[in-house]
C-alpha cells in the first residue's frame, strides 16, 4: 500500500498534513463536478483557506505531480494524486469505523475526530486496525472503504427522492458529513442499514413523507432526502 509518509527522491513535495487536506478536497470536488475538475475557489472553501493560498498550494501540488493544472484552468488529480487521495480516504474511513465499532462513539461526531487522526496513523497501525475490524467495506456513513490496493467499490443505491411512494427501502449511505444533519438522520431512524418506507411525495412543497421502521413518519425536504441513498427491498427478503 502506498504510504504518504516517505518523501521519495523523485518528488520534492512532502506529503504534509496540509497537502493531504488539499488532495482530499480536490478528490471530493472532482467526483461531484460534471467536468471532473475542481475549481480553485471550491478547493479554497473546502480546505478553509483563501483562494490565494489555494493557488499557491495547487502550484506546489502540480510541481509534485499530484495534480494537473494550468493558470485559470481547472484542477485535476493525476494517477499519483488519485492514489494518494484514496489512501487518505481509506485511513479516514477505517478510523471512523473504528471509532464507532470499537469505541462506541456517536456516529454523528466521528468525522471530525477522524480528520485529526488520519494524518498521524502509520501504514502498520492502519493495517492492524483493518484486520481488527474484519476488513470492513463501508464506514458508518455507508461510504465505501478503499481496499489496501486502492480499489474503491462505490456503494449502489439511489437518492430517496428517486423512489415512487410506497417503496420500502434500506438506507445504504448518507452523503454529508455535517454533524447537525447526521444527528437529525440518526434521530429519525435513517442510518445506513435502517429500513424505511416512502409514504408520499409532495412536489409543490419540495418534500417527501417517509417513515422509518419503528419511528414516526416525518417530512423531508428534497434537499435533505437527496443526501440519503437507499436500495429498494423486495417484500420477500428480510
Amino acid at each position: 500500500m502506498m504510504s504518504l509518509h516517505a518523501a521519495t527522491p523523485e518528488s520534492p513535495v512532502l506529503a504534509t498534513e496540509a497537502v493531504e487536506n488539499y488532495l482530499k478536497a480536490i478528490y471530493a470536488l472532482c467526483r461531484e463536478s460534471a467536468t471532473g475538475e475542481a475549481a480553485m475557489s471550491r478547493i479554497a472553501t473546502l480546505v478553509g483557506v483563501t483562494t490565494g493560498t489555494a493557488t499557491t498550494m495547487v502550484k506546489k501540488l502540480t510541481a509534485g505531480k499530484f495534480v494537473r493544472y494550468e493558470r485559470f484552468g481547472g484542477v485535476k488529480l493525476t494517477v499519483k494524486g488519485d492514489k494518494a487521495a484514496i489512501d487518505i480516504l481509506r485511513r479516514h474511513r477505517l478510523i471512523e469505523t473504528f471509532l464507532v465499532e470499537t469505541l462506541n462513539l456517536d456516529w454523528s461526531v466521528v468525522h471530525a475526530e477522524a480528520e485529526r487522526l488520519e494524518h498521524a496513523i502509520s501504514p502498520v497501525v492502519l493495517e492492524a486496525l483493518d484486520k481488527h475490524l474484519g476488513h470492513p467495506s463501508v464506514d458508518p456513513h455507508g461510504d465505501p472503504i478503499p481496499d489496501s490496493q486502492g480499489g474503491v467499490r462505490e456503494a449502489r443505491g439511489k437518492s430517496l427522492t428517486d423512489f415512487p411512494p410506497g417503496t420500502r427501502v434500506r438506507v445504504s449511505r448518507i452523503v454529508d458529513q455535517d454533524q447537525q444533519f447526521l444527528a437529525f438522520v440518526a434521530k429519525h431512524g435513517l442510518k445506513p442499514g435502517s429500513i424505511a418506507r416512502i409514504v408520499a411525495a409532495d412536489p409543490p412543497a419540495q418534500s417527501i413523507l417517509i417513515e422509518a421502521r419503528d419511528y414516526p413518519r416525518i417530512s423531508l425536504a428534497f434537499a435533505a432526502a437527496g443526501k440519503i441513498l437507499a436500495e429498494p427491498i423486495s417484500t420477500f427478503s428480510a
Copy 2:
C-alpha cells in the same frame, strides 16, 4: 481533564506538537535529574534539535508559563507545565496499551507509533479508549498511566541488580524505550509480568546471570539489568 487543544486567552502559547514534545522531554529530564531541573543541552538532544532552537523554545514556554527558567539556569516545569506533560504521558501510554492489547502490535515497536498519534487524539477519543481498555493502570512497558485527574502512581519495584542471587522476581517495568533493547528483553522472556530468578551476580564482569521462567539463562550487563525493574516473589504466592 485538561486539554491541550484549546488555546486559552490567558496563555498566548499554543499547545502545538512541538510544544508537547518539549514538555515531555523536560518532564522526563526533571524526573531523572538530581536537581529536578533539565539542562538545555539535554532537552535539545532529547527533542532532536540544536541547543539554539531549544533555548528559543524554552523562552516561549516560559512566556506561556509552562516552565520556569532564567538565562543560563536550569529549566523546571510549573504546575501548569507539569499537568500538561502528564496529560501527554497519559495519551502516550493509553495509546501504547491500545496498540498492544487491541491491535496486537508488537510490544517493542509501539513507542514510535504512539509518539505520532498522541498529538492527534482528542479528549473524547482518549476517554473512550480508556474505557474500552478497562482503565488500565500501567502500559505494556510497565510505566504507570496517569489517571484522568493527572494522578500518577509510580510503579514499585527495584532494579534487577538490587536483588541477591537466588531471589525469584516478577518483572514490573522496563525503563527504556529503545526498540532494540525492548526486542532483546522480549526475546529472553523478561517482559513486565514475567517471572525470573537471579542466578548469580558477577561484579568483576559487571553483569548478572538471570533465568526467566521457560527461557535459557542469560548474562546481563549491569547497565541493562538496571533498566529492568522487578518485585520479589514469595515462593508461596503464584
